[in-house]
């Protein structure tokens, strides 16, 4: 099904978290898995080129960097979705935006230095698009955030 073999799978499972912070991280991974550094580099380059890997890097907690994050939802008429998405996506703090089937049909995440700024931006979005049904749903408690997928 996937254009990856068992070795690729093992490497991918190994590097989704706890990527080594050592001078030659790919060598550490290779030693870990009984492979050669060259093999790991070649396989990862291929997986990257095939877009199975989106990126390798750090993921941060917005609140620890002095930012706030939230989830917003909007009721947007079908024929205005493209225009609405364009307006919303212009903000660099909007990192995820999906059309979903529900009465609130557009769902996007928003990160900014303050909730006041997010509310001001939502106000501006409403004025520019004419979409007035936008709800702001900041998390009051985080039970789980996991981004590791066992392949």
């Amino acid at each position: 099904m996937l254009p990856i073999d068992d070795t690729d799978r093992t490497i991918l499972n190994r590097i989704q978290s706890d990527f080594p912070i050592t001078s030659r991280p790919y060598l550490s991974i290779a030693d870990n898995l009984g492979l050669s550094e060259n093999d790991v580099l070649k396989r990862l380059s291929r997986l990257k080129k095939k877009s199975i890997i989106r990126r390798i890097g750090g993921n941060f907690v917005p609140e620890k960097l002095g930012f706030v994050s939230t989830l917003c939802a909007a009721k947007v008429p079908e024929d205005q979705i493209d225009c609405f998405a364009m307006t919303v996506n212009r903000y660099p703090g909007v990192t995820h935006n999906y059309k979903r089937d529900s009465k609130f049909n557009i769902w996007f995440t928003f990160i900014a230095p303050s909730m006041e700024e997010i509310n001001r931006n939502l106000e501006t979005i409403s004025q520019e698009t004419g979409v007035t049904d936008i709800i702001n749903l900041p998390a009051t408690k985080v039970f789980k955030i996991k981004a590791h997928f066992d392949l």
Partner: protein
């Protein structure tokens, strides 16, 4: 809270690190700092919990998780910690948050569920509902990706 150097390092490490023998050396050279300083700072950011995760982000659709559903649940506030905890123990649940309900949208607990197809998602959700005895919920499958990116903190325009 964060030093100038930490912010500079975050602005680079939030991107994509090179797939080469000495990726950190390349980044350190870009920043004009010693490789050792970069490694120590990264470890500190990780140990302080500023960096939640360091590693590869995969494209789910391409790695065998074609379907993802956001599930909004309406849970009795007295039970919400208990229900939230239960939901997190399910492997297919990647995110679980409590959010305030509003007039137009009365749900207060949110989970992301990932599986190979929609039917599997539905089945996982049916089981979660049964295990937690929460029967008011709605599944919101994503129908179109309008944007998916990573946040760029402290990037100089």
């Amino acid at each position: 809270m964060l030093t100038k150097l930490e912010k500079k390092i975050i602005s680079l490490i939030q991107g994509d690190i090179p797939i080469t023998e000495y990726p950190y050396l390349e980044i350190a050279e870009k920043l004009g700092i010693a490789e050792e300083t970069l490694l120590e700072t990264l470890k500190s950011l990780r140990d302080r919990g500023v960096m939640r995760r360091f590693g590869a982000t995969l494209r789910h659709q391409k790695s065998g998780f074609a379907a993802n559903a956001m599930v909004a649940w309406k849970v009795d506030e007295n039970r919400i910690d208990d229900v939230g905890q239960k939901m997190t123990s399910c492997k297919q649940v990647s995110h679980c948050y409590r959010r305030n309900p509003s007039k137009e949208w009365s749900y207060n607990l949110y989970t992301m569920v990932h599986a190979g197809n929609e039917e599997s998602c539905r089945e996982i959700v049916r089981n979660l509902a049964k295990e937690t005895s929460v029967d008011t919920y709605t599944l919101l499958f994503s129908r179109r990706e309008l944007k998916k990116t990573s946040m760029k903190y402290f990037s100089t325009p």
